[in-house]
């Protein structure tokens, strides 16, 4: 029995690690069972997972958004590029 418990028990640190792993790659069967069991007993990690997914959603969108719609003028850069293209 002790062995089984030891096999199944995760710390919160390890559980949050598995939550992040799951958002990137697949968990093994054992890891899945461990995580599901841990979450069923731990509100904090359940909340963490929800927030972590929310952050991923936000980051995914944010990284493709450009909030500064005004283009920064950079005439020097244009000259520099034109010159380097002329050398080809």
């Amino acid at each position: 029995m002790k062995k089984i418990l030891h096999f199944l028990m995760l710390s919160c640190k390890k559980a949050t690690m598995l939550i992040e792993k799951k958002l990137l790659i697949k968990l093994s069967f054992k890891e899945n069972v461990q995580l599901t069991l841990h979450k069923s007993m731990c509100d904090a990690c359940t909340a963490y997972e929800k927030q972590s997914k929310k952050m991923d959603e936000i980051l995914k969108q944010h990284i493709h958004d450009n909030p500064n719609s005004d283009a920064v003028q950079n005439e020097k850069l244009k000259d520099k590029i034109t010159q380097s293209l002329n050398k080809i």
């Binding site: 990690c45 980051l59 990284i63 005004d70």
Partner: protein
């Protein structure tokens, strides 16, 4: 099209699109010099592979596609060779800010439900500012890892293959980055 005609077309693109490309690169990498180099590299690459463009209708989309690849390359480099002077604490030290010896949440760090988490947060410019500030606080290679995860819509395994690292490394860095980012958002936004 011969070479000289090509050159004229590309010079026109430099005039028309380089400000937009530069703004995007600057926003993504927050380094003026880096952004300039990325845009210059984009036009050089466009020049070299011009024949691939012919027949396509929208040069802006094509150039942004090249630039985004260059930006991903940039983050791969930063991820491998972080130059950050922000202190990246040792692993143990870092986790002590969140968990006790046994790996349980420290009482004050336990995640609690966020208020208004279902709101369209990114429509709120104040939230976007907070998020950007929190992202800037991260060590360079953590920020690079986050960008690599989301810039290209690729599976985790493929990102790791391209970086020539084991997935374990990559998600362990993401784990730390997300813990840190969550805490920052918690303190500066959700607690308000």
């Amino acid at each position: 099209m011969d070479k000289s005609e090509e050159a004229v077309v590309i010079q026109g693109w430099v005039k028309a699109f380089s400000d937009k490309l530069y703004s995007w690169a600057l926003y993504k990498t927050s380094g003026q010099e880096t952004a300039e180099d990325l845009v210059q590299d984009t036009f050089l690459a466009a020049c070299q592979s011009f024949e691939k463009f012919e027949g396509r209708s929208d040069p802006q989309t094509w150039l942004f596609g090249i630039l985004n690849n260059k930006i991903a390359d940039h983050f791969r480099k930063v991820y491998r060779n972080p130059t950050s002077n922000k202190e990246e604490n040792s692993e143990n030290h870092f986790f002590k800010n969140f968990f006790d010896e046994g790996g349980d949440w420290l009482k004050k760090e336990r995640p609690q439900a966020w208020k208004n988490e279902d709101a369209h947060l990114l429509d709120d410019t104040e939230f976007v500012k907070t998020l950007q500030a929190c992202l800037k606080e991260l060590p360079d290679n953590w920020y690079a890892a986050i960008n690599l995860k989301f810039l290209e819509q690729k599976k985790g395994e493929i990102i790791c293959q391209e970086l020539e690292i084991t997935p374990t490394n990559f998600w362990q860095i993401l784990h730390r980055a997300k813990l840190q980012l969550r805490k920052c958002l918690q303190v500066h936004w959700f607690k308000k």
